[in-house]
């Protein structure tokens, strides 16, 4: 009975700046400010991945920090969720063509929520964290959690999170699947 309060109401976040230009990072800081007050949702900004439930990543992945990002991700105990904040974290953004940029963070870790924007607005970041917290709860119950796709959805209905597992592709159903990006999640060229 008590369990339903847990994860949804207390998503502790850890922020990792991958390759960001700081725009999204300072908007994350602004989320903590009295105007937006992230703590309303029980969010604590912990510096330690071992305590965190939600990983907020800003910026794209480069050769040096890919390993660090994977490391931070691996240190987080299950259930966990990843939020890609801003377009750089989602696809590489304006820096996609840079020689040292590998692309969005999807290259390294599975993403649960993409927050758009350059930089992402604090409202959008808060929304992303709250959505990630809902996914945490589903994940704990062992229910299938859909991973978003950056490929625009054409006419398919949005996946029902409570749908029975057999209707969901196996790769999507397993919450702990490492970087199993299904074919339809492959990025647009």
């Amino acid at each position: 009975m008590l369990q339903q309060f847990g994860l949804k109401k207390s998503p502790w976040v850890v922020h990792f700046n991958c390759n960001s230009c700081n725009g999204c990072d300072i908007e994350l800081l602004a989320c903590l400010s009295p105007l937006y007050d992230l703590e309303r949702f029980g969010v604590i900004h912990v510096g330690n991945p071992k305590h965190a439930d939600v990983l907020l990543v800003t910026g794209s992945v480069n050769h040096r920090n890919a390993r660090v990002l994977k490391n931070v991700y691996d240190q987080m105990p299950e259930p966990k969720a990843i939020v890609a904040v801003g377009v750089c974290a989602s696809t590489g953004g304006i820096f996609r063509d840079c020689y040292n940029v590998l692309g969005g963070i999807e290259e390294v870790v599975p993403v649960d929520v993409f927050v758009p924007g350059c930089p992402a607005r604090p409202e959008a970041v808060i929304d992303g964290i709250v959505r990630a917290a809902e996914k945490l709860e589903l994940r704990r119950r062992g229910q299938p959690v859909s991973r978003p796709s950056l490929v625009p959805e054409t006419h398919e209905p949005t996946p029902n999170p409570a749908a029975p597992p057999e209707t969901v592709p196996a790769t999507l159903a397993s919450p702990a699947a490492p970087v199993a990006a299904p074919a339809e999640l492959a990025k647009t060229p």
Partner: protein, 359 residues
Amino acid sequence: MSQRTTIPFGPQHPVFPEPIQLRLILEDERVVEALPAIGYVHRGLEKLAEQKDFQQDVFLIERICGICSFMHAMNYCQGIEQLLGLAVPERAKYLRLIWAELHRMHSHLLFLALLADSFGFENLFMQTLRCREEILDLMEITAGNRIMLTTCCIGGVRKDITPDQLKRIGTGLDRAQASLGELGGAFAKDYTIQRRLKGIGVLTREKAHELGAVGPVAKASGLAMDLRQTGYAPYPELGFTPITETNGDAYARMMVRLRELDQSAELIRAAIGRLPDTPLSVPFKGNPTGEVAARIEQSRGELLFFIKANGSKNLERFRARTPTFANLAPLLHMLPGCELADVPVIVVSIDPCISCTER
């Protein structure tokens, strides 16, 4: 007990919004040696700027750093204008100045908030961020975005500030300055803050010059060095003089920024008062050619762009030397000998922008 420990300070560390790694070698809690490991946010922006059209580069270069984005774009545009021989209309110069100073204010307020965070003063952190929102509101009202304004373009600005918005800037600055007055008192006079900042991370005037410190770090050490005096924008007409402190410690660096906040607000007011009525931009034809080293005083100090163009629409070389890059050497000079508890304070006191540094 003099056991040596090596602490990897970063790249993912809560006090830094950005990844830089300082390998600190500690004896007990005293830092003996500090080695930087950077490259965690190296993207290769300079190369991309050479591959893109020089007009697209305005938006790319604005994203060298999200905190002082407008000033990057401004410096780049000024450099290209110099190559093209464009005379920017007066109104555009004043509008650029207004946005640049708004950016300086929000950047300095962010610095104060991070500094408060670095010595664990959560309340002050929150209040400073609240004050910062006033400035962000002004930017959103005038440009449509909170941080990335993208109003600067080659030849002038893309957007005008209407009289209503100018009035709103005035009231917004009043509110920000009112709360800044209270916050400034807390920052300058609080006993615990003074204990944490005074005499910490001292950089003498000689060392500051030798190590090439720029911006508030140099000004706090007594070097009156502010490129706004060179007159790239109508600063001299508005009666600008650089602010300096003499002690060269973290407290002095904070005071420089605190006083610059008020100065920026006054500059904006003065600029609004004298805003000339001219077109916003001049049209231009052709591609730039030649070499130029454009400089500007960004919120963290001197920003230098070396631009080499060869008459095609791609630049031949774009090089950015950002202020934090210059301030890294002073930082590494300040760290040895300090306490571990002072490391966040010292690092934050130079207002590091790693994203600028590594591009």
